[in-house]
Amino acid sequence: MGAASLHILYFAWLRERLGLGEESLALPEDVDSVGTLIAWLRRRDDRFGAIFAEGRLVRCAVNQEFAGPDTPLADGDEVAFFPPVTGG
């Protein structure tokens, strides 16, 4: 049995700031939602701390649907972080 994992995508200024478009992550034990994932990323690396700082407008989608801090995460989920959309 393989370890539980997440696939994470970053778009627009988040991607540029991080120098990272996507990554795969072995799901940490204390991460079970978008909110706990953000807390874990902030602890991992200062760059994430800056990106998810208080008041920064970062949106999230889980498996290609808009999600909030309480949205649960499970093995194999695709999580995307991005700024408010500006198409059209």
């Binding site: 995508l9 778009f11 808009f66 959309v85 500006t86």
Partner: protein
């Protein structure tokens, strides 16, 4: 069924209009909106706009928005095309078409489609200026307000 497309290439407004209406005798009106790249942004001269998107999510998000319009206004047809990549001033970015038996529905659905697309579809614009500066466009409160006009009571 709506026609929903994300592409680099320019779209052909006349051909899309013809495809939506060909052989139909039940349509009374077609509303349309085309968004284009303006050269001046905040008083600065744009060299180009770059549109990034979230490919795995975009088509589904547009299809969901189109399905919502079809449900609310009983549309007889609907087309949404959004370009991505590098676009120069004057270039068309987005096309929305909505066909209905009556003009009120066609025009309302057209407004709804572009308002929701601007706030619910995963596209991001980066402006590259003639002087070399570049920045990501920030979401506008007016766009959120425009989209909120269409919210339905629970």
């Amino acid at each position: 069924m709506a026609r929903v497309v994300v592409q680099d290439a320019a779209f052909d407004v006349g051909a899309e209009f013809a495809a939506l209406t060909a052989g139909r005798c039940d349509i009374g009106g077609i509303g349309a909106f085309v968004g284009t790249v303006r050269e001046l942004s905040g008083g600065q001269r744009l060299a180009a706009m770059t549109l990034e998107h979230y490919p795995a999510m975009t088509a589904a998000a547009l299809a969901r928005i189109a399905a919502e319009a079809e449900r609310r206004w009983d549309l007889l047809g609907c087309t949404v095309i959004h370009r991505v990549g590098r676009l120069e001033p004057g270039a068309p970015i987005v096309l929305v078409l909505a066909a209905a038996a009556h003009r009120d529905a066609a025009l309302a659905a057209t407004g709804f489609l572009i308002d929701w697309l601007k706030t619910k579809a995963p596209f991001w614009k980066k402006e590259c200026f003639a002087d070399g500066a570049a920045h990501w466009v920030e979401a506008r409160a007016e766009d959120d307000a425009a989209a909120a006009r269409w919210s339905e009571p629970d």
